[in-house]
Structures are given as C-alpha cells and as structure tokens.
C-alpha cells in the first residue's frame, strides 16, 4: 500500500528581498516593504511530504526519527535563526520563499533516500504558502 506522510517543522529567519539587477526604484516597486534594507523576519512552517510503501513489518513509510533527524541537521540547522541573505546559496539569488522552497527540496531529495520526496511546502505567513514538487506534479 502506497501512502504519503507529511511532517511540519518550524524555523525563524530573516530576509530582505532585493535584486542587484534592478534599480533602487524598481526594487521598491517590485518588493515594496520587503525591500527594507534592514530586512524583516518570519516564522516559516516547513511541511515535508514523502511517499512510499507502508512497510509490512514496521507499519511505517519511513522512520520519523530518521526524517526528523535529517531535517534537523540538514535544513533547520542551516536556516533557523539565520539571516537568509548572508547564506552562500543566496549570495546571487533573492531569498524569496519560492527559492528557499526549491533549495530545501533539493537538500532533502539529495540527503534522505529512505522515502520518495513528493513535495516541500513553506508557509511564510498565515496567508502565503509555496509548494515545490521538483519534476513531479503537486
């Protein structure tokens, strides 16, 4: 039986939306308040969805301890309580939640082979969320 398991995690980070390819005025027009040079913060909610066969012996798609452990060290340790703009992956890329979602998807896909990664969803605020499924459908 193939099932999908979703797990949610919380991390807090700050960012500033600004592109060097745009003029100061274009940045203001495009990003509005998010262009504040001091940055601003979010409590991001990360939802990771994996899928796989339910193991006949354990009743699990994958061991949650393994998934939690990987996300703690591979994702949360990297982004929690950080200023995203100071991180290497955002040296030349705007740390929008879209881009962050893609980076997190790639980290989990590369580093967690115990189950198939279906999608990553990031809630930036109560009103906005972003999902990325790699090459798959949402």
């Amino acid at each position: 039986m193939k099932a999908h398991l979703s797990r949610r995690y919380l991390f807090s980070a700050s960012h500033r939306l600004h592109s060097d390819a745009l003029s100061a005025e274009e940045n203001q027009l495009t990003y509005g308040k998010c262009n504040n040079p001091y940055g601003h913060g979010h409590n991001y909610i990360l939802q990771v969805t994996v899928s796989g066969q339910v193991d006949h012996e354990t009743g699990m798609i994958c061991n949650l301890v393994d998934l939690d452990g990987f996300v703690e060290t591979g994702v949360l340790a990297r982004y929690d309580h950080q200023n995203l703009n100071t991180l290497e992956e955002f040296a030349h890329e705007v740390p929008t939640t879209e881009n962050l979602c893609i980076h997190i998807f790639e980290i989990v896909q590369r580093g967690f082979p115990q189950a198939h990664l279906e999608r990553v969803c990031l809630e930036e605020t109560m009103m906005n969320s972003f999902e990325y499924a790699g090459e798959g459908r949402i």
Binding site: M1, K2, A3, H4, L5, S6, R7, R8, Y9, T49, V54, E57, T58, G59, M60, I61, N63, L64, V65
Partner: protein
C-alpha cells in the same frame, strides 16, 4: 469533478510493537512509541470524496449518509479505544498513522452512495499526517 471533505476527531491510544522483532529491536525502531501501556492522540480524520454535483439536489454526496458511515465504521470502532487491543485489524498489524489511514480507507471504500472515496487523511498530531489515495 468536485471534492468534498468531512472532518471528524477521535481520541485513541496505541503503541508500536512487532512481536517478530526482539525487545531491543522494538525499542530501537519505535523508541517511546514502544511503551506497552500505550500512549494517546487526538486524531483528526479528513475524509475526501469526489463526484459530480447532482442537478436535482446540488449535492456531491448525501452528507447525512457520509456522517453515518463515518460514525459506524470509524468512530464506534476507534473513538476512546485502545487500538491495538480493540480494533480487529490491529491485532496483526501495527496501528501506525499509515496503517490507520489504510484501514479507514478499506472500511469506507464501497460504502458511499454516489460519490467515490478520493483521499483519507489522518493527523496523528497537528504536525504529522498521512494521506492515502487507495494506491496499492
């Protein structure tokens, strides 16, 4: 095609244990969930059905009928129960969130009039849920 979801909560206890594993394997794989006295959750169940809107009633499914089926097949069987000891399907399989979703699907599929079962979603906690779409 329209999708309708009905939610219901049930409170149950369970523990994770495979009698074919050694005590040490059980403890290592299942950790705190292996406590033989069990532990509990307020499970949240979302049943999603799909179908076309009936032109006479405006319904995808008769909600009264869906509610009766959910009460009979899920709540009466699992609410305020110790899943390992009181639900027949869990005599021989571990009541993980995955298996609970599959068992609920099997109990509901084919019992709905007009609409088809699309997805069973079981939240064990607000941060952990399983979706089952009936895929083997």
């Amino acid at each position: 095609m329209l999708y309708l979801t009905r939610k219901v909560e049930f409170a149950a206890s369970h523990y994770y244990h495979n009698p074919d594993f050694t005590l040490e394997e059980n403890r290592r794989i299942f950790g705190k969930c292996n406590n033989p006295n069990g532990h509990g959750h307020n499970y949240l169940l979302e049943v999603t059905v799909k179908g076309e809107v009936d032109s006479r009633t405006g319904f995808v499914v008769d909600l009264k009928q869906l509610k009766e089926v959910m009460n009979r097949e899920v709540l009466e069987a699992m609410d305020h129960r110790f899943l390992n000891k009181e639900v027949p399907e869990f005599a021989k399989q571990i009541p993980t969130t995955e298996n609970i979703a599959v068992v609920i699907w099997e109990r509901l599929a084919g019992k709905l009039e007009r609409a088809k079962l699309h997805r069973i979603r079981v939240y064990e906690t607000p941060d952990l849920f399983v979706d089952f779409y009936g895929e083997v």
